[in-house]
């Protein structure tokens, strides 16, 4: 077999191997893909030179097995890393603060003097803060649950999950309502989501107090932010007129989460990164 034929056979193998590298997560591929291809090429030349075509077949079988196993490992790890290092976890205090601020801002809509089915002007603008606030709070709660998954008890874990789902539900219901405006069920779905979100604040707050993860005031603020809507919103007249109590209640809930987010923002983050690195090289 001449050297040119040998070279083209190996180079074809390398091209196929490079194509298979696309199965790896992008970041891993960008950082190590070319190095892996380089090692594959070096080894392929050695195998082809020493063992010929049969050796190459065995080498390919071994490489494919290695590729499948390591792709699964990198994908699984990436999931772990992106969850523990992801923007949602990393920025969870900011998401909670933004969510709280938007929710508080949306409270202005309750000051509209007439009916609350058609918001206008500043009331309409402030009402637009509600879906954004809910999404940010849902993402923030999800991040909170992931970030402190080792510290939360069962109540906190389920609470943060319930809050994530509960926060997204009204947002989705609102979007669907734009497409299907006359479906009453969407209103009930949205309200159920909101109730679940507020209930989750109470659950998470209780768990924070039970587990003594943070200072007591953090858990208490969570509980207050969960109980307030259930008390304040029903006290106001329905749908017509200025709803001062609802306004105050919503601002209070939003303010609580701004304070909680601000506390979590200053919470040390070193622990987040320490364990995965050591665990990754241990058996």
């Amino acid at each position: 077999m001449n050297a040119r034929h040998q070279s083209s056979a190996v180079e074809l193998s390398v091209r196929v191997y490079c194509a298979l590298l696309w199965f790896y997560p992008t970041k891993h591929r960008q950082e190590y893909g070319w190095l892996m291809a380089q090692v594959f090429r070096d080894k392929a030349y050695a195998v082809y030179h020493g063992e010929g075509g049969a050796g190459m077949v065995l080498y390919w079988l071994g490489s494919l097995l290695d590729l499948v196993v390591s792709v699964i490992q990198e994908r699984r790890e990436r999931e772990y890393v992106t969850v523990s290092d992801s923007n949602i976890v990393k920025f969870n205090p900011y998401l909670l603060m933004i969510g709280g601020a938007l929710l508080a801002f949306s409270g202005i809509s309750q000051l509209q003097p007439d009916d609350h089915y058609n918001f206008y002007g500043i009331y309409a603008v402030s009402f637009m803060g509600l879906p954004g606030g809910l999404i940010a709070l849902a993402a923030g709660l999800y991040g909170l649950g992931r970030r402190f998954k080792g510290d939360f008890g069962r109540l906190g874990k389920w609470g943060t999950l319930l809050g994530s789902v509960g926060g997204i539900t009204p947002f989705l219901a609102l979007i669907v309502a734009f497409i299907l405006p006359n479906v009453d069920a969407l209103w009930y779905i949205g309200m159920s989501g909101l109730a679940a979100l507020f209930a989750s604040f109470i659950l998470v707050g209780i768990d924070v107090l039970r587990q003594e993860m943070f200072p007591r005031w953090v858990g208490l603020l969570m509980i207050v932010s969960g109980i307030t809507p259930f008390i304040a919103l029903p006290l106001d007249p329905v749908d017509v007129g200025v709803r001062y109590i609802s306004f105050a209640g919503i601002v209070l809930v939003g303010g609580c989460w701004v304070l909680i987010g601000n506390y979590l923002r200053q919470y040390p983050q070193e622990e987040l990164a320490a364990n995965p690195a050591s665990a990754a090289v241990r058996r």
Binding site: Y32, Q38, V39, E74, E270, A277, V281, R282, R283
Partner: protein
């Protein structure tokens, strides 16, 4: 980051791939393919590390502070290809020693039980 504060024992037991890579780097810095060759030679061909396993392990070892990427490049006439070289960190050296002692204790126990033909 906290690796420097960690004790070598906290990293044990190592995966076979990580232990072999540390061992391969014990006598100097090497690039990926050289590590792969060394591992194969030291293990008598029983450990055949693919490129995926090799660089997956290297990535995690860099993150754990066991190895470092070397800034120095060997003589371009010896190695004209663009490669990345890795070397043991001080922490990696301590972890390698700790793991070697751990394995040695296991081998000693096996010897005591006459599995390896009696006490040496």
């Amino acid at each position: 980051m906290s690796q420097t504060k960690m004790r070598p024992e906290d990293m044990l037991p190592l995966t076979p791939a990580v232990f072999h890579i540390l061992l391969a780097l014990a006598d100097g810095e090497k690039h990926g393919y050289a590590i792969m060759q060394e591992v194969e030679a030291v293990s008598g061909g029983t450990v055949n590390m693919g490129a995926g396993t090799l660089y997956g392990s290297i990535k995690r070892m860099l993150q754990a502070g066991l190895i470092e990427e070397s800034d120095e490049r060997p003589d371009p006439e010896i190695d004209h290809q663009q490669r990345r070289y890795y070397r043991l960190s001080n922490f990696g050296e301590r972890v390698l020693k700790a793991e070697s002692f751990r394995l040695e204790a296991i081998v000693r126990a096996a010897r005591d039980k006459k599995i390896l033909g009696g006490t040496s």
